[in-house]
């Protein structure tokens, strides 16, 4: 895959091969010569949509390579007015499921499909149209739902206890584009680098999950980048599952701008008592 519309685009955001087999890195290419290092293939797992926010104000068009699931994030960022469609040239790149050193990525095991939501050009082949999913996306959520409230509480307390508050999940998240994050306020006690109370880490992730609810496309980057292997995507998927069940099927990033379940009020909306009914407490 080699395409550089010199003149049409001023730069390319893609991937660069690493030193080993699978340590590919998102990279910025600013000249034709640099494009020698460009790669696309099995280890292009990162979602490049978030980097586009940085490029949005750059002069000239930016060419970005997006996998099917990444196009959801990109579309969602346009809905949120974080990106201007005209500033980008989008290559939809076919995806056979991305890998890392330990095999198929978690997010690809529950692949949401191979449709490109937004693109200028698509480069793919028959093989990359074949489904990748090998398990039900909501399997993990359902398993947790079937546990008791105490078991779920213990599960999350244990998982979140490993959090080192590095903010990788937030920094990679295409739904987290606040110019200044509320958790970055040094005057507040929540910016602490040591868990004065372990409750803090718990709160951080729960607030973040609430904040991206209805906007999260389930791109899975939060869990992929977590150095402490916390299954953060399960929090987001629980919201997605609940929203689907309560307000009808919805996928963030699909379709033209519309009113989303979280920003639309209807008389049939769930009442707060639903929490107790569904909580399995």
């Amino acid at each position: 895959m080699q395409l550089m519309n010199e003149g049409t685009v001023a730069r390319v955001v893609g991937w660069e091969k690493g030193e080993g087999e699978c340590d590919w890195t998102p990279a910025l290419f600013e000249s034709v010569q640099e494009m020698d290092g460009f790669v696309y293939g099995d280890y292009a797992g990162a979602n490049l949509s978030k980097y586009c926010v940085k490029m949005n104000k750059a002069e000239g068009k930016t060419l970005v390579v997006l996998k099917p699931c990444d196009t959801l994030s990109f579309r969602q960022l346009i809905h949120e007015h974080r990106l201007n469609r005209d500033n980008f040239y989008l290559i939809g790149a076919g995806c056979k499921g991305m890998k890392d050193e330990s095999g198929l990525l978690l997010k690809c095991k529950t692949c949401k499909g191979k449709d490109f939501e937004i693109f200028d050009e698509i480069i793919d082949d028959e093989e990359s149209k074949q489904p990748t999913a090998i398990m039900d996306r909501m399997e993990g959520v359902t398993a947790l739902e079937n546990e008791t409230a105490q078991e779920r509480f213990d599960f999350w307390r244990n998982e979140l206890s490993r959090c080192i508050r590095c903010n990788a999940c937030r920094n990679v998240c295409p739904a987290c584009t606040c110019e200044k994050c509320v958790f970055d306020n040094p005057a507040s006690s929540v910016a602490s680098k040591a868990p004065v109370t372990d409750f803090e880490e718990n709160v951080f992730h729960i607030i973040r999950a609430f904040h991206v609810a209805g906007r999260c496309t389930d791109c899975g980057e939060c869990s992929r980048v977590c150095p402490q292997h916390i299954p953060l995507h399960l929090l987001n998927r629980k919201f997605i599952k609940d929203m689907n069940e309560l307000y009808g099927e919805y996928q963030a990033g699909v379709g033209e701008e519309e009113r989303t379940p979280m920003t639309t009020y209807t008389k049939t909306d769930a009442e707060p008592s639903i929490v107790r009914e569904r909580g399995n407490a």
Partner: protein
């Protein structure tokens, strides 16, 4: 002296040590050096552990002192320093080299007594690396995976550990284990094997020419930092995993009945690291990313007779969610030199 015991006895030996033992243990798929307690899952074969043993000497957070504040008066109580002997069991050559780097910082005048007291009370039991990973490149930075510099060294050969004592402290510890004496042959054989295996690693020999104080500004001003740092999330995983990253923050915490002043790890990758009321000299991730690698490869050797503050443990290679790591930096910036 050389001794020998079956690998299967390792857990019993760790349990039998009369002092506190810190050893690599596995929990939820992550390995770290923890105070060993019965029932923990020893991970003596892991190279390298997810978290290094720097925690033992320089904990991720530790109390420094306590203040009682009443009206206009302040009363200060210092936290007790470490005063009991302990053992680290299963240290690797890279992590031991990392402690030498940490010594340069914490034991330089004025000595950090919190760190120094832990160093004094430690007996180090090392493990030779019979199965180095592809991400290992420690020999570039002065560590030898075949002969880690410790009080006691364990050499895994077949189903046994061969034990060599290198210091009196080490000899005293091993005496407690009541081991059978052994021949040195298998140890020498393993050393040779490790040497051969290391040579086959992809990053066995890196070109470090030009990474010194002489080329400080040239490296700093390199246009390549922009591209190198572009994908960085600023998460600081590399700094937390790194056995030599020792930047710290000092903070106060209101306990409700006084103020606890504690020290915790900090990261030059964070935007608030150098933030002052008047702004920050490193406003972008580029500057922060550059700081980290310049410190390891240029600033530190410039201040410490050429000693690098990278030890080639490869944790940044394994940990960075965007696969940015020091080998990429060395190769990218080192190439300039040869042109």
């Amino acid at each position: 002296m050389t001794y020998q015991f079956p690998k299967a006895n390792a857990e019993a030996i760790v349990k039998g040590i009369s002092r506190a033992v810190y050893a690599p243990v596995e929990k939820d798929g992550l390995t770290s050096f923890e105070r060993y307690e019965a029932g923990m899952n020893l991970a003596l074969d892991t190279i390298p552990t997810d978290k290094s043993m720097k925690d033992v000497f320089f904990p991720q957070w530790e109390n420094l002192m306590h203040f009682r504040v009443e009206g206009k008066t302040i009363e200060l109580t210092e936290e007790e320093r470490c005063h009991q002997d302990f053992v680290i069991f299963g240290a690797r050559a890279c992590d031991i080299q990392a402690v030498k780097v940490l010594d340069k910082v914490f034991l330089a005048d004025p000595v950090d007594s919190y760190y120094a007291s832990r160093r004094e009370h430690c007996t180090l039991v090392a493990l030779a690396c019979d199965k180095p990973e592809d991400s290992c490149f420690c020999k570039n930075f002065g560590a030898d995976p075949a002969s880690p510099d410790a009080d006691v060294t364990l050499y895994p050969v077949g189903d046994d550990y061969y034990v060599q004592t290198n210091t009196e402290k080490g000899e005293a510890l091993v005496k407690e284990w009541n081991l059978d004496k052994a021949e040195e042959g298998p140890v020498e054989w393993l050393k040779g094997e490790i040497g051969k295996k290391y040579e086959e690693l992809p990053f066995a020999h890196l070109n470090l020419k030009g990474f010194d104080g002489e080329h400080l500004k040239e490296k700093f001003d390199s246009p390549k930092w922009k591209k190198l740092s572009m994908a960085c999330l600023g998460c600081g995983s590399c700094t937390f995993a790194c056995p030599t990253c020792q930047c710290y923050d000092i903070r106060d915490y209101d306990t409700g009945n006084g103020v606890q002043r504690y020290r915790c790890w900090d990261s030059c990758m964070y935007s608030d690291f150098t933030l002052m009321a008047a702004g920050t000299p490193r406003p972008h991730q580029l500057e922060r990313y550059r700081q980290r690698f310049m410190h390891k490869l240029v600033y530190f050797p410039a201040n410490n007779d050429g000693m690098y503050s990278c030890v080639g443990c490869g944790r940044c290679i394994k940990k960075c969610p965007m696969h940015l790591h020091i080998v990429k930096v060395i190769k990218a910036l080192g190439e300039e030199e040869s042109k």
